[in-house]
Structures are given as C-alpha cells and as structure tokens.
C-alpha cells in the first residue's frame, strides 16, 4: 500500500484497465470483518480514487467519482477536494456522466463550503433550457442541485431560467413541480427574485394547472406562509386556497392548505368562519388519518370558538386514543389534546382514564405527553389528588420517568409563587415524600422550595420542621449524594424554625450523628450552624422557663393557693388551668414569653438543667474536633458554637443545682439578650428590586461620596448583590407523622445508632429495637403497596381531573409575594425576525399588490365558468387592495390614471360577477355537491357584502372568500 500511494502522481493505463468498480469496493467493504479492516479498505479505495479521478478518460473519472460519492455520503469522508472533477463531468454528452456528477454535487456542495458551483452556471443554464435535444433527465438533477446548493448570486442569475419551466402550459411537464420547489429555495436565499418568480408560482395554483404543479405550489406556499414572520402578504390568495380546500381530492394538498389557513386565521376572522364547514366535513368523512389529524390540529389552533367543530375533533381524538394497536395515533391524540387550554378541560376529562393509563405506556414519548397533559389540567382543587397519585406512581416507574414526574410536579406546583397550592402542610409533606423516591435526583429544586416555602409561608413552618426532622433523623439518607442538598435545607429549616419543634434536643442529636461526616463540607457547615441556633434557642428557653417558673411561683403565692415550688418539674407539674390563672395576673410578662412557655407546656416538654448540660457535652464532644477542620466554613462555625458553650459554662452559677439561682447572674441575662437579638430577626424573602426602592436620603450624593473609593476597590467589591441571597439554603423532605410505620423506621435506625455510638448521644431511658444495618438510602419507606397497579392509579383521581367547586378546604395561608416580578419568570418574547423573511414578505407583498392588479388574461380561455369567476374574485381582491392603497396615498382626488379607472371598472365587474353568481346558483342546484358548496359561498357573499361597505377596516381590507 505504501508503494501505491507513493506512485499516486499520475493515472496510468494500468489504473484505467484494472480499475475497480463501485460494486467491487462495496463488496470489499462488506467482507471486511472488523472496523480496522474496513478503515484500511476505505483508505486504499480513497488512494485509488485520488489517482483515477484525474484520468483524462471520462469513464474512469466517473467511476472514481461514483466511488467517492458512495464513501463520502455513507462513511462521512470529505469530498470537497473533488468538486472540480464533478463539474468537469457536467458537459459530457453521455447521459450517465453528468447524472453521476449531479449526484456527487448535490450530496456534497453547499454555498458555505464549495464556491465552485458558479463555474457551472452556463452548464446549468443549458440543462435547464427547454429544448427538444435536452433530456429532462438532466434538467431534473440540475433543479435538484440548484435547490440544494445555490448561493444568492447564483440563484439570482438563474431565476429567469426557471421561468419557462414554471409557466409551461403543457399539461404534464414533469419538471414543473420541481421548478416550483426550486423557486421556493431561490426565493429563500435571494428575496430579490420575488418579482420574477412569485407570479408564476401563483399561477401554478390555478385550476388549469397540472395537479402535480398545484400540489408542489401549495407545498411551496405552505412553507412560505409558515416561515414568514408576518403571513399577511398571502391573505389575498385565500380564495385560491379555499377552492383547493373544497375541491382538492389530494390529501397532501388539503393538509398543506389547512396549515396555511391555520396561519392566516389569526389575521382575518372571516377566514375561520369560512373554513369551519369544509373542515368539519373532512373530519367526518375522510378516511385518511393524516388528514383527520390535520383537521383536528386546525380546529384546536384556529377554530376553538366553534363548539360543534371542537366537539367533533374531540370525538375523533377519542377514537385515536382508543386505538390499542397503533401507538402513533395514541401519541398524536395526546399531543393534540395538549393543544387545548384549560378552557376545554372537559375534553381531557372525557378521556381521563385513557390519559392516566397512558402514564403506564411502554413508550416513554406517550408517557411524557400524558404527563404534560395531566400537568396542564392541574388547578387548586385537584392538585392534591393528582400530585399524590403522580408521586405514588413515580415510585414504581423507571428512574428517568420518575424524575420527569417529580420535575413536572415541582415546577407546576412552584409556578408563580405556589399559586396552585392551598394546603401548604400537604405540599410540604409531599416534598418530603418525593425525597423517598428510590430514583430521586431533584435535590436542587426541592432544596430551593423547602427554604422558599419556609420564608414565604409562616403557617407551613410547623409542618416544615416536622418534615425536616424526619429527614435529618434518618441515618440512611446521609449516604446518598442526591440528597445532601435536601438535607442541607432540612438542617437550615431545623435551625431557623426550631421554636416549632417538639423536641429540639432530638434535632441536635440528629444533626450531630456520626454519619454526617459523609456529607460534603458545605452541608456540614449548615449543620453546625443549625446546631448553634438550636443550642441558643434551648438555652434561652431554659432560662426563660425558670424565670417564668419564678413568676408563677410568685403568682401562686399571691393567690394563696400553694406553697412555693421549686425544681425542674415545677412547670410540668402544674395544671394548665392554674398556669392560666397565674398568667392572667401577670400583665407585665411579655406575651411572647408566655406563648413560648405555653407551647412547651402543651408539648409536655421542658428543658431541664440536666438535659441542657448533656446537650452542651454532646455538642462539645462532636463539634470540638471540627474546630480543627480544614474547611473554613465548618471550622469557623464550629468555633462559634464552642465559644457560646464556653461562655455558658463560664457563668458563675452554672454548676449550682438550684436552677432558679441561675437567673441571679447578670451575665446569663446578658447572654440571653444577646442570643435573642442575634436570632430573633426573621429572615424573609428579599425582592430583587428591593435596593431600587430605598430612596436616597436628601443631601447624600452617592457618586460623589463613592467616587474616591473607585481607586481603592476593585469592581467586584462594590457590585451590589442584586439577587435574593441568604446565608444558607436548604431543603428538606418529610414523612407524614400519621404514618406511624414510616415514622418508626428512621427512629429505630437512630436507636440502633445510639447503641453503637452511645458516646455521642444524650442519655436515654427508652429501650429500642435493634436493626442490623443501614438500609440503602432511598429505600421507599412509605407504606406503598407494590401490588397496586395502574387500575388502582386510575381510581385515584376518578373524579378529580375536573375542578370541583365549593370544596371545603381550610383557607389558604398567606404567601408572601414581594412584587409583581417576584417568582414570575420573565419570558423573553424573542421576536427576532429574520431580516431575510421580512425582505421576502415585503417583496411578495409588492408583487401581490402591484403586479397582480392586471387581471391575468392567460386563463380566460378556460371554459370552466367557475374558475373564471374565481379568478375575477382573486383579481378583485388585489384590485381592491391596490385601490385602497392608492386612495390612501392620493386622498379622494379623482385621478384620470389607469388605476382609478380600473377601480371603477372593478365595481362594475363586481356587480356583473354577482349577477353571474346568481346564474351559477340556479344552475348549480342541478349539479353535484361540489356546486352546492359554491352556493354557500354566494349566500355568504350576499350576506356580508353590505356591512363591509360601511365598516371601515384596517388598511388591508380584503374581500377574500366572500
């Protein structure tokens, strides 16, 4: 091989004589058993090709080009280097040569990579020219190549050469539809050609055209209308499109026409009124599913105001959804239902069972559509049932889809500051439940929402802390990397809202369990800070409790009701009625203190000196080593905690058994005040606009004062933080307390842990059952019966997809919303329009409005009276437009120019044509169903003519269809 490639300088006779054909190369490739052999075979073939393609013998050259084309198109090899050789073959008189060259060029040329094609301009022109000597076998690939690879310049040069083919009248010129498609491409790359090409394209739509040309032209107009940022230039053609919609027997054409109408409908209300009947007719009668589906789409996108049509379409969708054997129809049915907004939720409700069954489909695409549909149905009255159903379902589905479900639920429920959620206790526990999903991977979003709900919804905090506790206490969750962010949120919640906790000491134990060293440092920092907050809270509560106890004792003695009580069990021992009496006397006591005291009394829970001591010991033992931690965040916070403990320990009476003595130390009072001051300020959400709303105080000139600093500070230092920021972010998830089974799970695990690592735990008297090891982290602990199948799932929301009104629910808690921008994602309505499209629309508008004024005489020969009349209609329309345009520009002055004459003529013509219509009408009664449609048209025209003359409308008033 090395030898052959070395001699690749010039093709020899040997090469020509023993050239391998394309088939030979393919055979070698097929027989090469491994990728390496194949690569070697290809390399060898390419070497040969490089020599052979330079051969003066065209046959040798063409075979080489064929081989190269094959390798390039199927094995992705570059063949741009051979572009010139392909062009060399174009002028050959032997038909296979230029055909092979065209194939090679159409597979490899593109204006951005090959600039050689202009060299072949002349040759292309020759092949396009209609002459008897010229075989259409070459014009077709020439058109194909132009459609694929023409640059704007080339397109402009060759546009006139398309004209003879485009406007050829021979009934079945096979090139005409191809020329239409090529003209479409020419218009796209070079909008300047619109004046030349657009009129012949419009003519292709006429009745006299070859059906194939009509079909190609309608495809072209569909592309143009869909691609145009503003389809209004195509409105004047609406009568032609309507005729095709009614008359065409070609489903492909009808589908394209429907697409065009869907695009035009928003511009012109009369269009929808006109197409309703034909569309319903097609929906009812067409046997072609593709056409029926297109009708459904048209109805759902443009005809939603027509109830009968919508019902018909929904019925058809039901048929689609019911087709067990055809997943395509089920998929499309769901997709079409997704087009309907909440205003038509009845349609989804009708197919509820099928939709929910589809969640279980073998096809992920179908499942996804069903999920999208269900999420679209959510409203505040069914959100609970549906989300519960979905979360249960997610436990059993495959990992990918499970997370898609979680994602959908999270984003839908969190939308617009939880606008759907009424019962936040439920939602918070739902978040906790999601974390238990074995495939859970949505930690970031749950983290955000847990903290966000905590900040915004005060009433949800007790439930939130319960959920957080259940997460923190479960050692099995610690090892799962997807959960660490959720745990971080849970830890933050437990520290921030510890006053709602039933047992703060238990929280500290959970936060300090040995397995937390599995967490990443940033989460451990949050844990340590949470411990700090809980410690401060516990200590403050303890001291306040003693103070309250003393007050109580005083109160009691005032009441002469009992002796002075001492000791730690004072508060717990008192009956609550006594305490109430006592407190009623104590107007001087801060209400907040009372509330806290009552809370702890109700929970049968007190802080004892002993337990606080143990708490201090525990924290000291576990947090102590962290003060040496290499991670600064952890280290710093650990030292804060240890510092607080040190201060507490340092107080004078700490070791005294008599608790009430403690309060005599001023230092302790100071500590309490300090701690309270540190943590009593509640964190709230901060608007991104907050800074802007702070008015600048009079006399403060910011720039002046700060400008000196610019030299000192870098940009980064003085950039204000624009977004909402908190020191910690966290997430948590919960189990419901009512589920004793689920609550016991983590508890027993913790007990096991306590047994092993007793050193780190507070003393505890309860006996706990033993378990052997940690379960794997996300083992579903919820009591979900796994035998349950879709049938059960279907039952769940049996009545719930449709919003039920007047459902007794508790009032929605206050959700803090900062301003109109808060939580609402600002959708960037990107209205970036392609300038090319604009140019094209503009050019086409010009063509339609100016050039088309002249009624085309070419088709007058047609004997079909209806077609003639339609053409009159069409030209009337454009005349009407041009007339208005001119009257806009010239005012009311009468001009003797041709256009005003024409417009007068136009009125006459109109009257004549309506007379003609009446004639036709009479005749049409004797004719087929086809003319009965015309009949409707006429009536419509008569009905709507009058108001049109009176009501002035927007500049482009068109009379289409009327």
């Amino acid at each position: 091989m090395a030898a052959t490639s070395a001699s690749s300088s010039s093709p020899s006779l040997i090469d020509t004589l023993f050239q391998r054909s394309l088939d030979d190369v393919i055979r070698v490739l097929r027989s090469s058993s491994s990728a390496a052999l194949e690569a070697a075979a290809i390399a060898r073939a390419l070497d040969e090709i490089r020599r052979e393609i330079r051969s003066p013998d065209l046959d040798t050259k063409v075979v080489a080009l064929q081989k190269l084309t094959y390798l390039a198109s199927l094995h992705h090899f570059d063949m741009s280097w051979a572009a010139f050789h392909a062009l060399e073959l174009l002028p050959s008189t032997s038909l296979p040569h230029p055909r092979a060259a065209y194939l090679a060029a159409s597979l490899s040329f593109h204006p951005s990579s090959t600039d050689l094609l202009p060299l072949a301009t002349h040759q292309l022109r020759k092949h396009l020219a209609p002459s008897p000597s010229n075989s259409p076998a070459l014009a077709a690939p020439a058109l194909h190549l132009l459609a694929l690879a023409s640059s704007p310049d080339l397109a402009r040069h060759l546009a006139p050469d398309l004209l003879p083919i485009l406007s050829s009248q021979s009934s079945s010129n096979p090139l005409r539809p191809k020329a239409v498609a090529t003209a479409l491409r020419t218009l796209a790359v070079c909008p300047d050609t619109a004046p030349v090409l657009f009129k012949p394209l419009v003519e292709c739509l006429s009745l006299s055209s070859d059906p194939r040309a009509v079909s190609a032209a309608i495809g072209a107009f569909c592309e143009l209308a869909l691609a145009a940022p503003d389809p209004s230039p195509y409105l004047p053609l609406a009568p032609e499109f309507y005729r095709l919609l009614v008359d065409s027997r070609n489903n492909w054409v009808t589908i394209k026409v429907l697409k065009i109408f869907a695009r035009l409908a928003p511009l012109e209300p009369r269009v929808t009124a006109r197409i309703v009947d034909p569309v319903c007719q097609l929906l009812r009668c067409s046997p072609a599913k593709s056409l029926v589906f297109e009708c459904i789409r048209t109805v759902f996108s443009s005809l939603l105001d027509h109830d009968a049509a919508v019902r018909l379409a929904v019925d058809k969708i039901k048929e689609f959804l019911a087709s067990e054997a055809d997943p395509n129809l089920r998929y499309l049915g769901l997709q079409a239902l997704n087009m309907l907004g909440p205003a038509h939720s009845w349609a989804v409700e009708d197919s509820r069972e099928v939709v929910i069954q589809s969640l279980n489909d073998t096809d992920t695409n179908i499942r996804r559509e069903a999920l999208r549909l269900i999420m679209g149905m959510l409203c505040d009255s069914n959100v609970v049932d549906i989300c519960n159903m979905l979360i249960k379902y997610a436990i059993k589905s495959d990992p990918e889809f499970a997370n898609e479900i979680l994602d959908a639920v999270l984003s839908t429920c969190g939308r617009n500051v939880y606008e759907l959620i009424v019962d936040f206790d439920w939602y918070v526990s739902l978040l906790g439940e999601m974390v238990r999903n074995p495939h859970f991977a949505k930690g970031d979003e749950i983290e955000r929402q847990l903290v966000d709900v905590g900040l915004r919804v005060r009433d949800a905090r007790p439930e939130l802390i319960r959920v957080a506790r259940n997460l923190l206490i479960d050692p099995a969750l610690l090892g799962n990397p997807f959960l660490c962010r959720v745990l971080s949120a849970a830890a933050w919640v437990s520290g921030e809202y510890v006053e709602f906790s039933r047992n703060p000491l238990e929280l500290v134990e959970a936060l300090l369990q040995p397995r937390i060293n599995l967490l990443p440092p940033f989460v451990r920092a949050v844990y340590v800070q949470a411990v700090f907050k809980i410690l401060a809270y516990s200590f403050i509560s303890f001291i306040e409790q003693i103070q309250a106890g003393e007050l109580l004792a005083i109160g009691n003695s005032l009441n002469q009701r009992g002796g002075k009580q001492e000791g730690s069990d004072l508060v717990a021992a008192k009956s609550s009625s006594d305490q109430n009496n006592a407190f009623e006397l104590e107007d001087g006591v801060a209400t907040a203190d009372k509330a806290i005291l009552f809370d702890s009394i109700e929970k049968q829970e007190t802080f004892k000196h002993e337990s606080i001591s143990c708490l201090l010991n525990l924290i000291e033992t576990v947090v102590g080593p962290l003060s040496e931690c290499g991670e600064v965040e952890v280290q710093e916070r650990a030292r804060n905690v240890l510092g607080l403990i040190l201060i507490i320990r340092g107080t004078q009476f700490w070791n005294i058994e008599e608790e009430h003595e403690l309060t005599r130390d001023n230092k302790i009072t100071k500590i309490v005040e300090l701690m309270e001051a540190s943590f009593s300020e509640e964190l709230g959400p901060v608007s991104t606009n907050a800074q802007k709303r702070v008015s600048v105080p009079e006399g403060l000139i910011l720039n002046e004062n700060l400008s000196d600093l610019l030299d000192i500070l870098g940009d980064d230092d003085i950039n204000p933080c624009a977004s909402v920021s908190f020191s910690f972010r966290n997430h948590h998830s919960t189990e419901t307390n009512q589920d004793s089974a689920s609550a016991i799970g983590p508890n027993s695990l913790l007990a096991e842990h306590r047994k092993r690592h007793g050193l780190y735990y507070l003393p505890m008297d309860k006996d706990k059952s033993e378990s052997n090891d940690y379960p794997c982290a996300n083992e579903p602990l919820l009591p979900v019966s796994h035998g349950e199948d879709t049938e059960d799932i279907v039952k769940l929301p049996a009545q719930s997809l449709i919003p039920e009104k007047a459902k007794p629910t508790k009032p929605r808690p206050v959700v803090i919303r900062l301003d109109e921008g808060d939580g609402v994602s600002r959708s960037n309505l990107s209205t970036a329009k392609e300038s090319k499209d604009d140019m094209l629309s503009g050019a086409i508008r010009d063509v339609l409005l100016r050039n088309e004024k002249k009624p085309s005489s070419t088709h007058k020969t047609s004997s079909d009276r209806t077609s003639q009349r339609r053409e009159n209609d069409a030209s009337e329309n454009s005349e009407l437009i041009s007339q208005q345009k001119e009257s806009n520009s010239f005012g009311d002055r009468e001009h003797g120019n041709s256009s005003s004459r024409k417009s007068r003529h136009h009125h006459k013509e109109r009257i004549e044509s309506s007379g003609q219509n009446r004639d036709n009408e009479e005749k049409s009664h004797r004719h087929s169903a086809k003319s009965s449609r015309h009949h409707r048209r006429h009536k419509h025209r008569q009905r709507e003519d009058a108001p049109l003359d009176i009501v002035p409308q927007s500049p482009v008033i068109q009379d289409f269809l009327l």
Binding site: S73, L103, A140, R212, E223, W252, K259, P327, R330, T362
Partner: protein, 144 residues
C-alpha cells in the same frame, strides 16, 4: 422546509442512504446527528410510536425488515403524512427492484437517490405517483 433529511439505516446502525435538504451540516455534525438518532430510534420497539423529538427536529421513522427509514421534519409537519411518504418510497423501490432489500440499495445507491430526487425536492414532496417517479429511471435503464 418540510423535510429536513432522509436517512436509511440498517439494524447495525450503518447508514445506507443519507440526503439532507437545505440544512448544511459539516461531516462531523452529520456523523454526530446520525449517531444520536440511530441510538434513539433503533432502541425502540414495535409497541412504541414512530415519532421521536430530537433537537429541533421531529424524527418520523418506520422499520422495514432490517432497514430503518428515518425522516427528519419540521415541527409543523404532519407526522402521519410523512409515514405515508416513507411507505410510498418503499413501495416505489419495491416496484423497481422487486422485493427490495438492503443489498439492492447498497449496490444501487444512485438509483435510490434518483427516486428520492423525483419525490422530494428542497424538502417538499413533489411527486407521489409511483409510475411517474420511476419513469426517468426506466428511460435511463433503456438508454444504457
């Protein structure tokens, strides 16, 4: 642009025909795109639907024996109509080759391209009659 590309791929994921319309992709992009589509579509079963969303295309595909016909279309395109188009393409090849198989397409790639050229131009379907599609090819066969 209606149809963006037509791909024929065998069960092993080897491309057997590739035609792109109006979309210019470099060789590497093509290789990547074909690889992704093949991975997505070939893993699907008969019980799953024939439509796959990929990047900004909708892929409509259909399997005939060992060959997958994959057509990339715009999002506006009617999926069922494209399925009918694929079927027409297969029937046309079947009529020409007689019980068409993968080998026929491998060894007559240019003919498969000619048929496609007759049917689709610039992403628009321009011809749907089998005899019209095959006429130029038969003429050429006769001439040679």
């Amino acid at each position: 642009m209606g149809i963006r590309f037509v791909l024929l791929v065998n069960k092993q994921g080897q491309t057997r025909l590739a035609q792109y319309y109006a979309e210019h992709l470099t060789l590497d992009e093509r290789r990547a795109l074909e690889g992704e589509i093949v991975r997505k579509c070939l893993a699907r079963t008969d019980q799953q639907c024939s439509f796959v969303e990929h990047r900004n295309y909708k892929i409509v595909y259909r399997r005939y024996a060992s060959l997958f016909f994959l057509v990339g279309v715009d999002n506006d395109e009617n999926e069922l109509a494209i399925l009918e188009f694929i079927h027409l393409f297969v029937e046309t090849m079947d009529r020409h080759f007689g019980n068409v198989c993968e080998l026929d397409i491998m060894f007559h790639l240019e003919k498969a391209h000619f048929m496609l050229e007759e049917m689709v131009m610039n992403g628009c379907i321009v011809e749907t009659s089998k005899s019209n599609i095959l006429m130029p090819i038969q003429l050429m066969d006769k001439a040679s």
